[in-house]
């Protein structure tokens, strides 16, 4: 496997791509020119489908299928939303995209919007990303002056308006139905699906919601074609992925690697292994909601569709043996307790009780009743909550119980 192929990060260190001139000098907006020249949205929709690109927000849903559902809708009014509400703890890959290459994101947004026939696109950005909002505003302004969006894009008949919508500090708004509620001026609680947003989304109209990293792959696919893209990475989940390496590694940071790379390669080759004097204990894959991976499982591949763990947002936390596991438990459970939206009881109560028990664990006051309760709470979170948040809240705690034996 060629580990050096870069799609998103290729020119990050070469030039200041925030300037539209620099972005263009490395082939930027060529994909948009190509699209406008061809005016064949079906063709490019097929390219994206053939690329087998999977959503990079965490769920790994095929982007082409989502896109097809909106493009083929009978409704005339449609919307496109770029999901930049990145708030998974330990994850800052989308922020890195905006910091380093905002135009790649904007180009992808424009192309996807035009493919699905949307005339209005939103960028839903994390409310704490003030600096990134500014970068995007400037980049949008530059792109507007160049006629890359607005009325009559590059003298064609395409029109598109792009707006930024800043969130207000709620993790669950990264879930697409909650995100739509939030734009509509409501509480950011998830909605029952179906209907899916592709059918009834923003203002009840078909809406395509894509993660910022997913979108950043689009210009490459338009230029080189879906088949070429499908050759990169692993067979079932092609392409590259941004991984955010953190914790006790020598070289933490954002790395772009083909999917299918093993956890061991990422931590020990790319990340330089553990910092001096530290011994590997386990790694958490995919942020706070991620599973815990022990030493003997490190050769597992990082790809979508893996049965044992989800790569989620791509955050990898490396934990060494000096770490206080009770601090981590309190970190995870505290996070889920705060961010549980409160819509359904099992999640609202379950996350709260788990956090209380984590506090008692840290104080060394855990009782037999607590140990029994943990089992019930975890089962309830895994099986009865309205949205996947409950499963997320239980994942790491369950592994800590089963693999790290914290209750023994």
């Amino acid at each position: 496997m060629n580990k050096n192929i870069k799609i998103i990060t290729k020119y990050w260190d070469v030039a200041d791509l925030k300037k539209i001139k620099n972005y263009e000098s490395f082939g930027g907006y060529k994909a948009l020119h190509k699209f406008i020249k061809d005016k064949n949205s079906d063709k490019f929709a097929d390219e994206i489908k053939n690329s087998s690109l999977l959503g990079r927000g965490g769920a790994g849903f095929p982007t082409g299928d989502k896109l097809e559902a909106v493009a083929g809708s009978g409704e005339k009014e449609r919307y496109f939303i770029c999901n930049l509400d990145e708030s998974e703890p330990g994850t800052y890959k989308d922020r890195a995209i905006v910091d380093n290459d905002p135009h790649k994101l904007i180009e992808g947004i424009i192309i996807l919007s035009l493919i699905i026939g949307a005339r209005k696109a939103f960028i839903y950005i994390n409310g704490n990303y003030g600096k990134q909002e500014e970068i995007l505003e400037n980049a949008l302004e530059e792109a507007y002056k160049k006629k890359y969006w607005g009325e009559k894009i590059l003298k064609s008949d395409y029109n598109l308006e792009i707006g930024i919508f800043s969130g207000a500090g709620a993790y669950i708004c990264g879930e697409e139905t909650a995100l739509i509620n939030s734009i509509e001026g409501s509480r950011g609680e998830p909605k029952m699906r179906p209907p899916y947003p592709t059918e009834k989304g923003l203002f009840g109209k078909p809406t395509l919601v894509n993660n910022a990293e997913t979108i950043s792959n689009i210009s490459w696919i338009v230029i080189y074609g879906g088949e070429e893209y499908a050759k990169i990475g692993s067979k079932n989940s092609p392409g590259t992925k941004l991984f955010v390496l953190g914790g006790a590694v020598k070289k933490p940071g954002v790395y772009e690697l083909p999917l299918g790379v093993t956890i061991r390669e990422l931590i020990f080759e790319i990340g330089g292994g553990l910092a001096k004097g530290k011994e590997f204990w386990f790694a958490q894959i995919g942020g706070s909601s991620g599973r815990l991976i022990m030493e003997k499982e490190l050769d597992a591949k990082l790809e979508f569709g893996n049965k044992d763990f989800s790569i989620g947002s791509g955050a990898i936390l490396v934990v060494d043996k000096t770490t206080n596991i009770y601090d981590l438990l309190l970190s995870w459970t505290g996070f889920f307790r705060r961010e549980s939206c409160g819509k359904c009881v099992p999640c609202r109560e379950g996350t709260f009780r788990l956090w209380e028990i984590a506090k008692r664990l840290q104080d060394g006051e855990i009782s037999e009743a607590d140990k029994k309760a943990v089992k019930d709470i975890l089962w309830t979170l895994e099986n009865t909550t309205f949205c996947p948040f409950g499963k997320f809240a239980a994942a790491a705690f369950r592994d800590a119980v089963e693999k790290l034996k914290i209750l023994k």
Binding site: Y92, F165, R338
Partner: protein
């Protein structure tokens, strides 16, 4: 003050899509949104007062209660937790004789927050919107003293 809230409201179209941005802006401008102001928001957007509260109360960045002069937030995301952010939290609790999350002290409040995406530089502490990186159990005292 009432003049300014009207000015802020006029920056927005009275449509649902502008409700959250308007609430955020008013909360940031005045520190919180009083019931009187919330009524003005509701009137402007032509929604019931309950709807305005329903939305406002959901989001961390919209305050519906008057905030203490000193609001301290410490990140407890996994990266910060691995760098001893809980020790920093305990230190602040002892310093002010408060508990994280409590609202009994009218002058100072300590909140535990989640990731702000600055994981490389943790523990992260935010005091009244000023961000501090790499805070330690011993360095936190010096920072707090500057705010007293």
């Amino acid at each position: 003050m009432s003049k300014t809230i009207e000015k802020i409201l006029l920056e927005f179209d009275p449509e649902n899509i502008s409700l959250l941005p308007a609430l955020k802006k008013i909360s940031a401008a005045f520190g919180h949104i009083s019931e009187k102001d919330m009524q003005k928001v509701a009137d402007y957007f032509e929604v019931p007062l309950s709807k305005a509260y329903e939305t406002a109360s959901f989001y961390d960045q919209v305050q519906i209660k008057k905030q203490p002069n000193l609001v301290i937030k410490v990140c407890s995301g996994a990266n910060c937790a691995m760098n001893n952010s809980f020790a920093v939290i305990r230190e602040i609790e002892n310093y002010f004789k408060i508990k994280a999350g409590d609202e009994f002290n009218a002058k100072v409040k300590l909140e535990i927050i989640s990731c702000l995406g600055q994981c490389g530089e943790g523990p992260i502490m935010v005091i009244n919107n000023k961000v501090y990186n790499n805070v330690t159990q011993s360095s936190v005292h010096g920072i707090l003293e500057k705010w007293l």
